[in-house]
């Protein structure tokens, strides 16, 4: 488990992370979402041991990460700006990774290069941006670490490759009980991949939740009654947003969907629709409930 406690990271006068607390369980795909400058990359560098926090502590299974090779050998970090040795091929890079990570598997490396259709003997400089990102992902996965960190990893990938990368990462997590942390500034990219999501804003996690729970706990209700009514008819319901046009009321509700339906049906409505929300809509309403304007956060 990755545990961050009151972590603060400063660059001169700029505070990149401020008193951040976070707990990431093992065996999940954890999504970090936030706008540019929110602190996603800084957080990933901190939990990779690249940075030492100015304040607070970052631990994996109770051990500090910074300058701790025993912990760091379980981590592979694929940064936003990729690094390959000059004029190297994927095979050359595989040798570098094999020298650095004891768990590196050439078998898995070959399997993945075939899956992605990349030529491991060709100079990586000749690869497109997307192919370079695939190459970095392959190398990271072939190292078979317990913790995989991907920073903006879907940037530059076409939809087909994006899905392939997602699947490969997902399978890796499932098969090896690994933990993957993926950062992105786009919520949609993480929606169908992550088990948990955290929203970073101005150096702090302002919202963190299980995706399944998120998606099912909020829903949109459209209801109409024959008699005149107002918002007070729904007292006792947990609502985040309420609008009424004529006899049709639309609101976002939180709670158990079936219980909600049962209660509303007992009120004998003319019309009743309970609709699922997209993850973006869930975030929108949750942010508003917390007092943030979603457009400012993402």
């Amino acid at each position: 488990m990755i545990q961050a406690e009151t972590v603060t990271m400063k660059f001169d006068s700029f505070v990149a992370l401020n008193q951040l607390n976070c707990s990431i369980p093992d065996g999940c795909v954890y999504g970090l979402v936030g706008s540019n400058g929110a602190g996603k990359s800084t957080f990933l560098r901190l939990i990779s041991g690249v940075y030492r926090p100015a304040e607070g502590k970052i631990e994996i299974d109770g051990q500090a990460v910074y300058e701790n090779p025993d912990v760091k050998k379980q981590i592979v970090y694929v940064p936003d700006e990729l690094y390959f040795l000059p004029q190297s091929s994927m095979n050359r890079m595989a040798k570098l990774y094999a020298a650095v990570y004891e768990t590196f598997s050439y078998e898995r490396f070959e399997h993945l290069t075939q899956t992605f259709g990349l030529n491991p003997t060709v100079n990586i400089n000749t690869f497109s941006k997307g192919m370079k990102r695939q190459a970095a992902t392959i190398l990271a996965l072939a190292a078979q670490p317990r913790y995989l960190y991907f920073d903006e990893t879907f940037d530059g990938l076409d939809p087909v490759m994006r899905n392939l990368v997602k699947n490969v990462i997902y399978n890796d997590v499932v098969e090896r009980q690994a933990t993957a942390i993926i950062s992105s500034h786009s919520l949609r990219e993480l929606e169908d991949t992550c088990d948990q999501l955290a929203l970073l804003h101005k150096g702090g996690i302002i919202f963190e939740s299980d995706i399944q729970n998120l998606k099912t706990s909020l829903f949109k209700v459209q209801v109409a009654f024959s008699d005149p009514y107002g918002k007070e008819r729904f007292d006792g319901f947990e609502m985040l947003d309420y609008t009424q046009r004529g006899s049709v009321a639309t609101f976002i509700a939180r709670g158990d969907r079936d219980a909600f339906r049962e209660k509303l049906e007992d009120m004998r409505p003319l019309l009743l629709d309970i609709l699922p929300l997209s993850l973006e809509e869930v975030f929108l309403y949750e942010m508003e409930a917390l007092g943030y304007a979603f457009k400012d956060v993402l």
């Binding site: 690249v50 760091k72 970090y77 690094y83 020298a99």
Partner: protein, 723 residues
Amino acid sequence: MKNVFDRKLYLVGLKKCKLVGIICGIILIVCNALAPVASLVSGMMNGGNAETTLSASNYAVASPMLLILVPMFFLSMFSFLNHRNESDFYHSIPFKRTCILGSFTAAIFTWVFGTLFASLLLNGILYAVDPAVHFSLLVPLQLFAFFAFISLYVGSFVLLAMTLTGTTVSNCAVSLILLFFVRIISAISIGMLESLVPIIDVAYSPLRFMSTRYWLPAATFRIFYDLSVFRDVGLWVYSAVVLIALYALSVWCFHRRRSESAGKSAVNRVLQHAFRCAFTLPLALLTVFGVMEGAGAAFAVVMVLVTLMFYYLYELVTVKKLRQTLLSTPFLLVPALCCALIVGVCHLTRNTVLRQSYTADQIESVRFYRDSDFLDAFRGRIVYTYELAKTDDLSVSDPEACEIVADTLDNNIRMVRSDSFYGVYIPDSRIENVEIRLKSGKTLRRILRMTSSDVSRIDQLRQESDGYAETYLLLPSDEEITSLSFCENDSEAVRKDADRELWDTFRSEYEELSDEEKLAYKNKYAKDMYVYLDGGGLADKFYFSVSGAFYDSHDVWWTFGDWYYIPPEFERTRSLCAERTQSERDDVRQLIQNFIDGEYDDLFDENAKNTNTRLIFDGDGLWNGKAVFPRGDYEYYYSSTGSTSAENDPKKGKAFFRTLLPYLTDTPEEDNYIDFDFFVLDEENNTWHHYAIFGLSGDIPDELKNALGGHWYNETPVSAILK
């Protein structure tokens, strides 16, 4: 061990700088192979080169190359410190930072040492096959150690610079600042101090380590002409201390370095200001120095403009932001304040030194001391006779000497105050380094302008002092002797092991003498290698050629070269000499006889084991005869037997030696003689040594004159030289 080195990471490092390694290998191999190949080709084209002995200067060209190549390795290997993505990668891998540093540094030096060794090996092989070169394995081995040390030294500066900066430009700039600018700043400051207080001897102040003598990069150029650099203990100890300190500092900085420093000109703003100011300070100091020395206003204006240009240029090039460059303007005050501080310290020192005037009563003793080569790596070493080296700086306690020095010091202080120390011509004066030991226990070292008569008087008092005679009569100790040869007449002897035995016998006989006898010996023989008998004729000369070196108690390096004649009174030594030379002559006579009787036409033949048997037991091989014809001020040398010269007819050699042998005598006549010297090859050191000397007795018969003139190739026939 995993904290400082990892084998796999080391292998990664080796591959990482493969390209630079190959380039370095090619450059070093070309540098080190060029001279021997040129020598070989020239030898082949000209039918042989003049014989030379291999020395360090044959390799010197590779030395300055390392000042460029080693930084290239570091810039290549640790380039990840300058790029954010690379920096993140290497800081995220599961190794301690010290391990990354240690493994990569080890990889760099594997390449450097490997290519260096390969180039020196190739060079050694090429020289070894060149018949004109007397190859000695010691020279390349010594140089390998020297170059390896220089590489480590230069590397320490570049590594520290790289841990403190984050771009290639700032890496290079700060490397230059650390490696050169600190020395330049100190040299200007010392120059300023010496200009203000010419009587101060900075060579004995804590600033001595700022002299070029202690600056290893200067030594890389010195080995072209001054091989004493290898024996300069002070240089090596100082450099080793600097090297260790810089690596320790580099490890500490590397450990604390933040990954986000990559791409920044310096790891923090304070250092950026410091580097920029250090970059500018030499120019600022030069400006101030120039003004102090009376340079005009035009010089000052130009220098200020150049200084400003350097100041802003450094910031602009390293930071690449115009706004930040302009914002650095207030920090111009720092170099200005540094200049003011240095000038202030110099003036403070001047005032302190000029207040230090003492009466003769306050002085316990004085002594002249030789200047070490402070601030002048290009000055020659001190060479004296052993006696002079030992006695030249003895202190004198005589009140008269103290009085002279007290008065001189007082005069000199007045001259400095009135600015006339250098500017005014004072007849019959000279500059002397004087150490003044005070009764209070304090010691002053001053450079004083003295009259020659005062110097002579102090010298005289020194020679009359108690310690002088005792020191004067000493023979060099075994530790001080670096080279010892036993000589007969003007030729060096062969057997080094026997030399030591002879020397020990000589020393024991010398030690048995009373002090008066030793003094008589020194005065009669030690000053002149040409020893004449009481009757006026030239004595048969057995003597030692002794050279050596030592550091005195003041850490001044002395070298000496002396002749020690073996007088007839030293019977045991003389007897051993006679025994030795007779044995050598018998050997040579037998060899010549074997040659005459044998089937081979050469004095030395690899295949003629029987012929050469008598010489092989020494591990040597007979070379060739050599004739010396002393006539007036000239000597004529001729090659003889044809073993090394294609122009000789070897078959005539037998006839020649058959004629010569009966006339060879052990003791040459006083006048009109011909010496025949035989040499042997010392295979271990690959040098030729004199083996035995013969003379021709009485009048030279026509038969021999004809043999000499007819046999030896020379432009002037021997018969024409011989009367």
